[in-house]
């Protein structure tokens, strides 16, 4: 017994010592002396059809043109932010993709670096307000948070956010969880609709509370929502136009509408991870993503609208997705700084509101 406790003590002591000094034992260095060898780049993407489209129209052609090898890792925005934070100082990802305002937090915490304007020249061709933060990676695509609905079961096209509260959809409304950026945005939208804002979120919570009795379920992720729409458990939900396009492409009877009070802007952007050893190639990659032909091909495949002025999307696509500078500028943009500051508190409050 004595022996065991002594051994335990020893283990505890060594564990503390090791824990204290194991912080910076990440391997250093990356051989960059062989110029002839293919340059490597690690990029994050969101998986699914989105990633498949990016592989085809962005990654593959880029690899050929720049004699590079691009490794794509699947990470949602929040996961990507957590990953680069964990790897701060010696990142394993060179270019990171965000869609839910995470770029603001990444910039504040110095996890990403400014783009090299001598390389990212295509930035001159994109809409002015697609430059999210001066000096950093601009939006390479955008879409809108609006209302998704089952076109077979929802007879009148929803025109207002208030339509979610309609008696006829009671029990079939998808309320998006706050851990999903769309849920977070919808909460702020509810505040805005009721004389609140990012600094005064209470009206938003009261409004959500009145919607909860109408909810079929609290939806966490996109696959969940797809499943619920497919089973007709959910017929109407606040979500984004990109996934509306994606679901209807998969054969689901899904329509999308931007409510008259305004849709909310969702900007997809790429950032150079701070401390990357492939800064030049990373900047080239971002520049490549802003090319008109790349953006057009990407838009046709995914339904995410281009931010480059020179892109003309097909007539068919133009009918179903919000697009163009005017529309983009009309979308409601959020104060992500305030949101990020309050997110923990809101999440706890939300969780208490919905958990059983």
């Amino acid at each position: 017994m004595k022996k065991i406790s002594r051994l335990l003590m020893l283990m505890m002591a060594s564990m503390l010592i090791l824990a204290a000094c194991s912080k910076d034992d990440k391997e250093e260095g990356n051989s960059s002396n062989e110029a002839s060898e293919k340059r490597k780049l690690v990029v994050s993407s969101f998986g699914g059809d989105y990633e498949a489209a990016q592989m085809e129209v962005l990654v593959k052609p880029f690899e050929e043109e720049f004699n590079a090898e691009v490794e794509v890792v699947t990470l949602y925005s929040a996961d990507a932010l957590a990953r680069i934070k964990a790897q701060k100082g010696s990142p394993e990802i060179d270019v990171v993709q965000f869609s839910g305002g995470q770029e603001i937090q990444a910039i504040n915490e110095e996890l990403v670096e400014e783009i090299d304007s001598s390389i990212v020249k295509n930035i001159s061709g994109i809409y002015e307000s697609a430059v999210l933060e001066e000096g950093y990676g601009p939006a390479m695509a955008f879409d809108a948070l609006g209302i998704l609905y089952n076109i077979d079961l929802v007879k009148d096209v929803p025109t207002s956010w208030k339509d979610l509260w309609k008696e006829e959809y009671k029990g079939n409304v998808g309320v998006i969880d706050i851990s999903n950026t769309f849920g977070l945005q919808f909460l702020v939208m509810n505040a805005l609709l009721n004389e609140g804002n990012e600094d005064n979120i209470d009206p938003g919570f009261s409004s959500i509370e009145t919607l909860l009795p109408h909810a079929s379920s609290i939806v966490g992720t996109t696959p969940d929502l797809g499943n619920l729409f497919a089973q007709e458990e959910v017929v109407i939900a606040p979500y984004d136009s990109g996934y509306a396009f994606n679901f209807s492409k998969q054969g689901q009877p899904i329509g999308f509408s931007i409510p008259e009070e305004g849709g909310m802007a969702i900007f997809i952007n790429m950032q150079v991870v701070k401390g990357t050893k492939n800064s030049e190639l990373a900047n080239e990659f971002i520049n490549y993503s802003l090319r008109p032909e790349v953006q057009k091909a990407f838009a046709e495949k995914t339904g995410f609208s281009p931010t480059n002025k020179d892109v003309k999307i097909s007539v068919d696509l133009a009918e179903v997705i919000p697009h163009g500078e005017e529309v983009m500028d009309s979308l409601i943009k959020l104060d992500w700084n305030t949101i990020n500051e309050n997110k923990a508190e809101w999440t706890e409050r939300w969780s208490k509101l919905i958990s059983q």
Partner: protein, 282 residues
């Protein structure tokens, strides 16, 4: 000081070193992180623990986690015991085949199996459609996104573990002891209750413990089947780590879970060693 190392310690070194670097050290790091503020100055604090232990919302998450783990273990034990008993007493030539059938689900990923359950449990899923068609219920019942759904899916995922632990014990049991009991006039039920079950207690102990400890730390099933409405410790840790980047709070939740589990296991161990003098023995 003289250091005497007997040979068996030397044999332990590779395994111990592995545990030290890949388990104890990270665990130690989590332990340390849990006592420091994540933002912005990183000062020492007990706030994380006091916050968890004084907020009924978080205590409820802990309670729910333990409760779901407990029920899952019991259901797995009952189903797994019958299953293992049946296999152990089947003809020898079928036993391997039957065991293979039990293990088969383990060959598919838990994610896939859970997605299957999501389709089955939905309001328009197989369960509800069948019950409606049989007029057992008049309107669809909620299974998906409830603790019940989590327990059902988790039982499915964890049942093979129970069988794998119980089967060897039941199959290696000396049948002559049961025959002796019957010879002395005990009914089959009495034999089962007084002979078979006590003899298989070590298996019951190990099986429930294994299922319980996997169940309370399980992430994928609560995340998919339970959803945001049924938070458990694992999903809350994920949420704090990934969505809120509050690693110090996430760490303290992990530490609390670990301590709670160790406590429960030691109580369980004591209880069981009282019941059977051979003890579960940890």
């Amino acid at each position: 000081m003289k250091l005497k190392l007997s040979p068996h310690w030397i044999l332990l070194i590779p395994g111990m070193a592995m545990m030290l670097f890949f388990f104890i050290v990270p665990l130690g790091q989590i332990f340390i992180i849990s006592f420091f503020k994540s933002q912005p100055d990183g000062a020492f604090t007990l706030e994380n623990y006091s916050k968890f232990l004084t907020d009924s919302h978080y205590l409820k998450i802990l309670w729910r986690t333990i409760w779901i783990g407990f029920v899952t273990s019991i259901v797995c034990l009952v189903l797994g015991y019958f299953l293992s008993y049946g296999i152990a007493r089947a003809k020898a030539k079928y036993q391997n085949f039957l065991l293979l059938l039990v293990i088969l689900p383990l060959l598919t990923s838990a994610v896939v199996r859970n997605f299957g359950w999501m389709v089955i449990m939905g309001k328009k899923g197989l369960i509800n459609e069948t019950l409606l068609a049989l007029h057992i219920i008049s309107s669809p019942i909620e299974i998906l996104y409830t603790p019940l759904g989590v327990i059902i899916a988790m039982t499915h995922v964890l049942l093979p573990f129970m069988v794998l632990v119980l089967y060897p014990i039941l199959s290696s049991m000396d049948l002559n002891i049961e025959h002796a009991s019957e010879n002395l006039g005990a009914s089959p039920f009495k034999t089962f209750w007084l002979v078979t079950i006590p003899l298989s207690l070590p298996g019951i102990f190990a099986g429930t413990l294994l299922v319980f400890s996997i169940a309370i730390s399980f992430y994928i099933t609560p995340a998919l089947i339970g959803g945001p409405k049924v938070p458990v410790m694992a999903t809350e840790i994920y949420n704090q780590t990934m969505n809120l980047l509050n690693w110090s709070y996430a760490s303290s939740i992990a530490v609390i879970l670990l301590i709670a589990v160790l406590l429960i296991i030691s109580i369980y161990n004591k209880m069981l060693s009282k019941v059977s003098n051979q003890g579960g023995g940890l």
